[in-house]
Symmetry: C2
């Protein structure tokens, strides 16, 4: 059997209708709804075929049909025409009162959740293989020394250290020069044991301070490589009763709260390069088991400075794919601009 044009039309009508209502779709509905001018009986025959082809199914005998994962997949891949959205509105919402990067990302997640009624996640931009850009020691007060470490992508790490006695100005100067000559431009791999030993020797009585700084550097670089995930609108998931019983939904919310598993999801997105960076996981395709009744749409955004991050939307399988995809496309395109304005 083949999926001819009429079958496609009917399938599309079934899915669209189901997306709107969340109820199984019957033959009569399709017969009236589409411009095919076919009776419900004909539709029924076609529907039986579509079911055999695996695109739709009945939740129980004598109910209408709902799309299977394969049906959604076909819909997303072949039938979807993108929608123009209320992006403008969202942009204005975003431009209000945001200062730091962190709050901006949180805000993005929030606005997105608010506008779509799904759960959203946003990661901060990651910089692969960050390099050291600048290090500076300074004396904060008699007993405290501050190390400022700047890494690629302007991730800044501060480390406070206790010292027994205040350092002289020229001592600090010497240490600063030492640090920057050896370490500027180095990545984590470049800093080997030999280098560490040499520097410790040269630092003389301040070897333990060096030790501390190295630790700080490791942390800073790690931090730059580590993903921070912001989620929002997780409670939206409670609005879709078809996601199964309360227990399942709870597990889903827990996964979202816990970040556990989310990392895996992010990793998968960021390492697959798609045409436009948009990826759609439907049902069982999701890399996280607790989301097997959901669909996930992720998009990668890219900053001019080389940072890459992910925006994702998690919702029921009957999510408004058109809207979600085009919103994400727009947003990832805009993010670089927005960041520039704000930082």
């Amino acid at each position: 059997m083949e999926l001819d044009e009429r079958k496609q039309k009917i399938l599309k009508a079934i899915i669209s209708n189901y997306l709107e209502t969340g109820e199984p779709v019957g033959s009569r509905t399709i017969s009236k709804y589409t411009d095919l001018n076919l009776s419900s009986a004909t539709i029924r025959n076609e529907m039986a075929d579509l079911e055999e082809l695996g695109y739709i199914m009945q939740p129980h005998t004598s109910a209408g049909r709902i799309p299977t994962d394969a049906g959604y997949r076909l819909y997303v891949d072949r039938m979807m025409v993108e929608k123009d959205t209320e992006m403008e509105e969202m942009k204005t919402q975003l431009l209000e009162r945001v200062d730091k990067m962190e709050s901006l990302l949180k805000q993005v997640a929030k606005v997105l959740a608010y506008n779509t009624n799904y759960a959203t996640l946003v990661t901060a931009p990651q910089y692969q293989n960050s390099k050291l850009k600048f290090i500076q020691l300074s004396q904060v007060d008699e007993h405290q020394l501050l190390a400022v470490i700047v890494v690629d992508g302007n991730v800044i790490k501060n480390k406070l250290m206790e010292v027994n006695r205040p350092l002289e100005n020229d001592e600090i100067l010497k240490l600063n020069v030492l640090l920057n000559t050896f370490l500027q431009g180095a990545s984590l791999q470049d800093i080997n044991l030999e280098m560490i030993q040499t520097m410790k020797n040269q630092a003389g009585e301040f070897a333990d301070i060096m030790e501390n700084i190295f630790q700080g550097i490791a942390e800073a670089i790690h931090e730059a490589d580590e993903v921070e995930i912001y989620t929002s609108g997780t409670t939206n998931m409670l609005k879709y009763p078809e996601l199964g019983n309360l227990e399942q939904t709870t597990r889903l919310l827990e996964a979202l709260e816990d970040r556990q598993g989310l990392n895996e999801l992010i990793d998968e997105t960021i390492h697959s390069d798609n045409a436009n960076g948009i990826q759609v996981y439907i049902g069982e395709e999701a890399p996280v088991s607790s989301m097997k009744d959901c669909s996930i749409v992720t998009a990668t955004y890219e900053l001019a400075e080389g940072g890459k991050g992910t925006i994702g939307i998690i919702g029921p399988k009957r999510m408004d794919y058109k809207k979600v995809v085009s919103t994400l496309k727009n947003l990832t395109g805009e993010l670089d601009t927005i960041f520039k304005k704000k930082e």
Copy 2:
């Protein structure tokens, strides 16, 4: 009518039982459960009295009794004997793999949620009226200038600025001296327009850099005064069906996700000085309307350096008050020590 000893015993038995089961408690249960050796009929008479006194109520005719807010209140104020808890276990959980303050706080919230099965919130320590401790400018690369601002409680703020040309070493030195002489030890109120003008004048061609720095200072101090709230275990709330229908619970979860309203709660706690900093809100007493079916227990912790923060637990009214209160008491006592070890 008076609340004699026997009535108290019965009330206590009712509440304890209800805490365990979550079901309305009948007279027969109490008659068997307690060591009073009274028949169910007698208990019924007493229960009628207790109901008249406002400590218990029937959810419907011919159901057992459940405690009212007033009943819980009495229980918390007068009848509760603290429980020794599995604090040791919790402490060991906390000591694993925690580095930064932020992750420590998140971890505290998480461990607490895991151990109690309620929702938890933790705020970072706040420092009232923070003062400037130290400022330093440095040249990161040709076009970027970094201002490091350290505030009381060692809150550190970094601000990157673009500059047209690299500054000479002595120019930077001059600016650093200028900044520290004027601003060290100053609080936000101390920095007035006059001061700003004087400094700008002295800075000469770098007046706009000064402008930037002032903004950074304002942000830093603000940030030190601003509360960051970490929540965890919010999904635990779904485990208590008596919290009302799904919609109510959703509203509750939204409030927890949104931080909206939580600030109010925190404010109220931190400004009321109780004997041991523990505060219990039952039902309608809560300052957040969406939590009117819950109980909230909050505790204030205090660091040696003067910072103050809040830990809170949100659960159903039938929460295990004994356990919660003693856990919180222990934890707030320990937090200072834990922080010292970790920072």
